[in-house]
């Protein structure tokens, strides 16, 4: 019979983090992050320029992965030097700012998978941050988005692609819930991306052969779903070999298409084929293979298997070590932060933060730019729900995470243009006819659930027509020109020209909006310690800083003026009163001048009316006096008490903070205080009026309690408070106190 746990534990059990699975480390199943007792000892034997033994395996026993790495992946001219270095010496070189990136890259080229895994396992989290800062290929960080929806709705895909581009994503990845829809999705996203910004790369993640065909037709401008696995069995279960993948890599390049491979921890474990090795060692084989094949980059950091890595001790650290390993092999890193790895907002943020701070070629290899439910890869670690959080994080840390703020007007205009462009192209080719209502629905939709519905067979038939009729991107360019979307046609044509020019085949290439290629070649990372490396240019920094929610004193003054009322008028200079039932309500200098609303949104005059009414209930008379010599609430209340016939005064700041004071108390003492202005309701002011009346009559009322809130009330209001105080201060002229009529 089990006894129920105590309330504290039941309460903790109910927190979201406990929906996550946590696994006991188990090398037998490959559930081990950084090092397994079954990982091989690093080693390399070279005889007559040929590898005869690698990581404890003789050439005759090489599996296909070993064989490919041994034949193509290692720089044998540095292998002896590199393999002889102590692991910790290499780890230190990765971190030390004074060792150039090129030197680390040179040596790592001669290291076997087991060796490099050992080195990376030594780096502690802040060291991984330093290593990533220095070792990533491209100086300028960037980011990649997912653009998908449950319905494969082309208009929504186009609108969302334009939105993602507007927010700064330089690569967009789409996929399909219905495989045959792929060509339609690729076309819609490419059109939307071109509306959003020039130079945005687009891919459609589907089965290898189909993905290649989409590339050959020009519908996509890069490919990523070329999966590698760390054991031969899982690799061939994936219906490929290192040679077929190497050929595929060349095939993409032969058509001028950028391509990277995908790997990452956990995949082998999920397929029951980890062969008792650690995740980091298996991934080290994948990364070595990627380099051997000549792929320019790797998407890793636990992609579909991220939560498997997240389930074991040090698993999240392993994910980042994978990214750094890619960089150390001189490849582009598309750094995971892709599949949602936890139900906990804290854990998923913790998982991304170090990479975000260090900066990567692509911080996320799939930030869900659409809502979670529309992400056909499955929800991402970051989603449309989090874009504003991410923008705020960039601003908090002064870090370029690849995103920018788009104004509401910009987003609306781009979404409409994108949906209209997609409609025009689909209509031009007779793929589908969309109504004005469908366009407007896509423009306004926050997700596919906001659409009236999409004719699934229409999308399928459009996709089939695209494939069967041999349409290419050149035809889409023509259609855009003919239907009046010339700028977009020019942008798509520029992407086609880029394939002819070939510069974006180099490592870590992206295009700027002015179509300049940024890559390892044109924008090499030159970090060498503080004061060096990437720093956002002033315009970029301004873009990071200027999130749409920021407000200035001017904005606030304008917002207050919208609530201006003429209910408060000065009538005479204030003098002491003699009525023992009189309570003076002292108000702050800006009251009735520039400040009209309290922080709770209640008009100041309403707060005053409630106070007056409360006094009246107790048979007392209120008199309102504005003080012009102080903004301190204690002083305002005390001054009011001193003018009051009863000796009891109320102090009220225009922002809503209020107290009851008595003429014989010290300024900072008081009888009752409402300190949390944003939470105050009219009845609270009424009660304060009543209590002040009772004090005036010599009674001792039960003090009113501040309403309590567990929300981040200070985060919400402090910027407003600073502005309100500045406004109050500007009216603090030292002029005599004046009586106001309400």
């Amino acid at each position: 019979m089990t006894r129920e746990r105590v309330g504290r534990i039941r309460f903790m059990d109910a927190q979201r983090v406990n929906l996550d699975g946590f696994a006991v480390e188990n090398p037998e199943l490959g559930l081990v992050a950084l090092a397994s007792p079954y990982d091989p000892e690093p080693g390399l034997t070279v005889v007559d320029g040929r590898v005869t033994e690698m990581d404890g395996v003789k050439a005759a026993d090489f599996d296909a992965i070993d064989a490919f790495i041994a034949a193509h992946g290692l720089d044998l001219s540095v292998a002896e030097e590199a393999m002889a270095l102590p692991d910790v010496a290499v780890a230190r070189m990765m971190v030390a700012p004074d060792v150039p990136r090129a030197e680390v890259v040179r040596l790592c080229a001669g290291m076997t998978p087991a060796k490099l895994a050992r080195v990376l396992a030594l780096l502690r989290p802040p060291e991984l941050v330093m290593a990533m800062t220095k070792l990533r290929a491209r100086r300028t960080p960037s980011n990649q988005a997912h653009v998908t929806n449950r319905l494969d709705d082309p208009l929504l895909l186009a609108a969302d692609a334009a939105t993602a581009a507007a927010y700064g994503f330089r690569e967009l990845e789409t996929t399909v819930p219905v495989l045959a829809d792929a060509p339609s999705n690729a076309v819609a996203v490419a059109i939307g991306a071109a509306v959003g910004s020039p130079g945005v790369l687009v891919q459609c993640s589907v089965e290898e052969a189909q993905e290649l065909e989409l590339g050959l037709r020009g519908f996509v401008s890069y490919a990523e779903t070329v999966s590698l696995y760390g054991t031969e069995r899982v690799f061939t279960d994936g219906d490929d070999t290192p040679w077929s993948k190497a050929f595929l890599t060349s095939a993409y390049a032969s058509r001028g298409i950028k391509m990277r491979v995908s790997s990452g921890a956990g995949a082998e474990v999920l397929m029951g084929g980890a062969e008792r090795r650690s995740m980091l060692y298996l991934e080290s084989r994948c990364v070595a293979l990627a380099r051997a094949m000549g792929a320019q980059g790797v998407q890793n950091g636990g992609i579909d298997g991220a939560s498997v890595a997240g389930a074991v001790p040090r698993g999240v650290r392993e994910l980042m070590a994978e990214n750094v390993m890619v960089m150390a092999r001189n490849l582009e890193s598309c750094s995971g932060n892709d599949a949602l790895m936890s139900e906990s907002d804290v854990r998923r943020t913790s998982r991304t933060l170090p990479i975000f701070l260090a900066g990567s070629d692509f911080v996320c290899s799939g930030f869900g730019s659409i809502q979670r439910y529309d992400n056909m890869f499955g929800p991402s670690n970051w989603n449309a729900e989090d874009i504003d959080d991410y923008l705020a994080m960039q601003r908090d840390w002064g870090v370029d995470g690849g995103l920018r703020t788009a104004s509401p007007e910009e987003v609306e205009a781009l979404r409409r243009r994108a949906a209209e462009a997609a409609r025009a192209v689909y209509s031009w080719f007779g793929l589908a006819d969309f109504t004005d209502e469908q366009v407007e629905a896509a423009v306004d939709a926050a997700g596919s659930k906001d659409l009236a519905g999409t004719d699934a067979t229409a999308v399928l038939s459009a996709a089939r027509t695209i494939m069967d009729s041999g349409l290419t991107m050149a035809d889409v360019v023509t259609a855009l020109v003919e239907t009046g979307f010339e700028p977009e046609a020019e942008r798509l044509l520029a992407m086609l020209r880029a394939r002819v020019e070939g510069d974006y085949l180099q490592t870590a290439a992206i295009f700027t909006p002015s179509m300049r290629v940024l890559s390892l070649v044109t924008d090499p990372n030159d970090y060498a310690g503080p004061g060096t490396g990437y720093e956002p240019a002033p315009e970029r920094q301004a873009e990071i800083d200027a999130i749409r929610q920021q407000r200035s004193v001017r904005d606030l003054r304008a917002a207050q003026l919208a609530h201006r009322a003429d209910a408060l008028r000065p009538v005479r200079e204030a003098a002491p009163g003699g009525d023992p039932r009189e309570v003076v309500i002292g108000v702050s200098p800006a009251t009735g001048r520039d400040v009209w609303l309290t922080l709770s949104g209640l008009p100041v005059v309403d707060a005053l009316r409630e106070l007056m009414a409360g006094l009246e209930e107790e048979g007392c008379a209120g008199r309102i006096v504005r003080f012009n010599d102080t903004i301190d609430l204690g002083m305002i209340g005390l001054s009011a008490a001193r003018l009051s016939g009863s000796g009891i005064g109320i102090g009220l700041q225009a922002k809503g903070t209020a107290l009851i004071h008595r003429r014989d108390l010290a300024p900072l003492a008081n009888l009752e205080l409402y300190s949390i202005a944003p939470a105050l309701a009219p009845e609270d002011y009424r009660l304060m009026g009543v209590n002040a009346g009772r004090h005036a009559k010599g009674a001792t009322p039960e003090p009113a309690r501040n309403p309590y809130t567990d929300e981040a009330i200070e985060a919400r209001y402090h910027t407003t408070v600073v502005s309100l105080v500045a406004i109050e201060r500007s009216h603090c002229t030292g002029a005599p106190a004046e009586e106001l009529a309400l």
Binding site: E208, S250, R255, V500
Partner: protein, 147 residues
Amino acid sequence: MTGRGREGRESAEGAEGPENTESTEVRAYSGRPVGSIDLNAVRRGEVGPDDLRIHPDVLERQAIVAAEHGNPQLAANLRRAAELTRISDTDVMRVYEALRPHRSTADELTALAAWLAASGCPLNATLVREARDVYARRGLLKPAQAP
């Protein structure tokens, strides 16, 4: 399906190979300078598939750049890619399919390598022969047909 503006755009791929390019200006597979590929040309229907395909010389130049930037494997890949510009999309797909596990016998891979070598793709031919030998050792060939 309209197919508007697509007349007269037969691909020359695999026929007589790309035009030679000597100047430093980037040229497409067709030999046409990339700068001349603009919307006006598209509007006039003067842009064909080979005007939008990369030229092997461009890939050779990119291979040199890759090697100079510490990645000889990327350079090798770009050189294999330069060769593959000479074969059609269909043939590219065919070779890829043949290299997948359990798709080809050793003899078929030998024949494929010979065809690649004869089609101006010696580096790719070498890759296929290497695959054949490893596949044979690792059991990745197509099981031999019963007679």
